[in-house]
Amino acid sequence: MKIDGKDVEFKEGQTVLEVATDAGIYIPTLCVHKDLPNFGACRLCLVKIEGMRGFPPACTTPAKDDMVVTTEDDELRSIRRNVVELLLSEHPNACIVCDDKKLCEQYRACPMKAGQITGCQLCPNKEICDLREVVEYLGIDKVDFEFEYRDVEVERCDPFFDRDYNLCILCGRCVRVCKDIRGMGVIAFTKRGHETRINTSFGKTHLEIGCRFCGACVDVCPTGALSARGTKWHGKLDSEVQTVCGLCNINCGIVAGVKWGKLVETTPDHDSYTNGQLCVLGRFCISGMVNHPLRIRYPQVRKDDWLIPVDWEEALGAVVEGLKKYEPREMAFIISQDVSNEAAFMMLQLAAKVGVEKIALAPSSGDQKAYDGGNAFGVSGLCQAAGYTPDELMTPEDVARMAGRGKIKAVYTTQDVVNIDDAEFLVIQDVYNSHSLKSAAAVLPVQSFMESEASVTSFDGVTREMKHASEPYARSRPDWEITRDILKAFEGQDYASLGDVRAAADAELAKVAKPDAQGTTSELNWFPKHIRELGDPPSKYRGMDLTVLIDDLRVLKEGRK
């Protein structure tokens, strides 16, 4: 077929729009999204096709042999301008037509954090707005139609995201992603004609109607109508890092948005094996977790009953000195299933060097599921490679019980453990301040999975890399590095770099059989089956209940009951 005089080839089943896009020809559109079935709602991709009457939309017209398509001429440009101006007659457009636009954008580079958006300068979506892009492409700087503000109330009654339907252009992307990709159908077009709105059945809240708050609708919205309440006001990002989520063992691909050295948002990674979809935790909770004031800031050592912030050298010195006072049989190590392969490997190396045989995995679970820990398969695989059968591994509860009976005196744990107060010498290497800190002899602050490089082995047996995205919180260090320094003090093998540790850990993992993920991997076109549902099981990260950290998550969980 021919597009704009250019001979192009196409595959059976492609639309005119897809063929043009593949050939590098831009046709503006607002309702098309690559993950979604085509819909033909916005009427922007209208083209001329020889032998066809009127202006067929490129997105819903199948390509045929010998078609001759014109994508751009004065007439089409005028139609498109009209379409966009009609959209702008209901979508706040003052910033687009303002005479002071240039100066204003120079002085007010960051959006204004408004509750109700009445211009681009107040809009969190400004930097990524599809509508603005089309406006700029068409060079629109005035709107001939009179503007009519819908003046509907901004919906802020639900956790996690705000909905300002004054900005909605009714492209239907949110409706389609919810129904066709996530299989939920929480929202739909309601009413007709001029009154058409996106809404839930009977106008109930999303919480009442059973929305899972995965945020897929927020991610596809071409305007600022849907926005993540906690993570929208950063403006232009400094960097975006492709990494994986560490909150469950599916390890979905996420893009970490970084600004001011801090994690300001997490969005789904479309290039990852999870096809650009996330659950509520990955989409809305990670930034708040990583920046949370409950993070441990400094290494601390107990002196005269008080935990005193000290430097790393002193803290690690106290840990080594303390551990050396005990017999190996009086010691237990608790390895969190949320730590990386490198961290777990180093813990096991240290255990072997010191002679500790009591190893517990946390959280404990006989029946292993993908959700148990951010790296459940990696950590348990490494334990297996180190010679521990599942029966030999203890649970944190066993350790607490034995500590209560005086059988275990020293505990080195990488997460919060309940009722561990009876241990004489407790070393906590953790991310958050928890109740166990009350009885800790030494506290070692660790970087979260957003701050340090590491690898995890997902439920399908594939090892995936976590990247360094945001700057480390206060004085925290990576897990593997802390344990490496302790191991060094015990005159164990010295690992110079993360690469050395990773190579050794990978070699260990290669010894064990890959997890049997046949049943699950075969369904890997899998949405929404394997994106976990909240509350199944409790959402925790290294023993810390995430509903304590993220208030909206508590609201969601309580609303679910």
Partner: protein, 294 residues
């Protein structure tokens, strides 16, 4: 000023008696604060704390009622604190309201006075306009917004203005443009302006002040500086006017618009953008009562 010290009203709760959306994103809040209502003069402000985990935020007093012991503020939602305030309802109580703070506006008979208001300033400029009118001036008020539906407080302003001119970026009112375009229009028609007052965002103050500079019209602007205590102690609201360091809270908020170091003001205002943005991640986490280690 009387001898009575400026004090925090501790005699009763700062109850919200009226809460209303004046325009999209702009709210009118009437607060019970009898002592402040008795003492306030045009151009002064209060610092209030919305809730027990809230921060101190300054707001221009936009009207008051001595008989009922109330003050009115208009505020724009533009951060976590104002988001909390926007969610409050009539009958709710603010944790604290301190004021009146700052120097009152200079009110004399000047002749023709031009007042320009944008965003919260459309509400905040009213007491100054009223006092200037009462002092015998010809008062021309111009207000600006992106579009017609964002203008408010028209009745109040109309009652004290000899002329009220509405300008909008999108041309949905008679005049397309901003306040600086209106000043030019007035000058073009031969109006002699003896003094100008501006209240609104810093960007609007800067652009408007530039418009009165060529004619050397004495120009007063109510600066928006980040502020903590409001009594000259913390130095957070530092700004440079006529090459000298000033505190917007005790030396202002009004300054000579032609002498302000705008670049510094914008730079200082942007200093906490990161923290302001990240604060949204923790909004509503008031249930989080665990001890923190610092």
């Amino acid at each position: 000023m009387t001898d009575e010290p400026v004090c925090q009203d501790t005699s009763q709760a700062f109850r919200i008696v009226k809460m209303k959306a004046a325009a999209p994103n702009i709210y009118e809040m009437v607060i019970e604060a009898p002592i402040i209502a008795r003492k306030v003069e045009p151009g002064q402000f209060v610092i209030l704390i919305p809730d027990e985990t809230g921060e101190r935020v300054p707001f221009t007093i936009s009207d008051w009622d001595t008989d009922n012991g109330t003050i009115t503020i208009f505020f724009q939602e533009t951060g976590v604190s104002t988001m909390k305030m926007a969610c409050m309802k009539e009958g709710d109580v603010l944790v604290s309201v301190v004021g009146p703070l700052g120097k009152p506006a200079e009110i004399e008979k000047y002749g023709t006075v031009f007042l320009g208001g944008g965003c919260y300033g459309i509400g905040g400029i009213f007491p100054i306009a009223r006092a200037l009118k009462e002092a015998g001036n010809k008062v021309i008020i111009s207000i600006e917004a992106r579009s017609k539906y964002l203008l408010y407080n028209l009745e109040n302003l109309g009652s004290v203005a000899d002329e009220l001119i509405m300008s909008t970026s999108d041309g949905s009112t008679e005049h397309k443009g901003k306040i600086h375009n209106i000043i030019q229009m007035l000058l073009d028609r031969g109006e002699k302006i003896d003094r100008a007052h501006f209240m609104g965002c810093n960007f609007m103050l800067m652009i408007s002040s530039e418009a009165t500079r060529p004619q050397k019209i004495p120009t007063r602007v109510a600066l928006n500086a980040l502020m903590v205590d409001g009594t000259g102690m913390c130095g957070c609201c530092r700004c440079t006017v006529e090459g000298k360091t000033k505190y917007a809270c005790v030396d202002g908020p009004e300054f000579d618009g032609h002498q302000v170091d705008w670049d510094e003001l914008f730079a200082r205002g942007a200093h906490y953008l990161g923290d302001e943005s990240i604060a949204y991640q923790f909004y509503g986490q008031r249930s989080c009562k665990m001890d923190m280690d610092d």
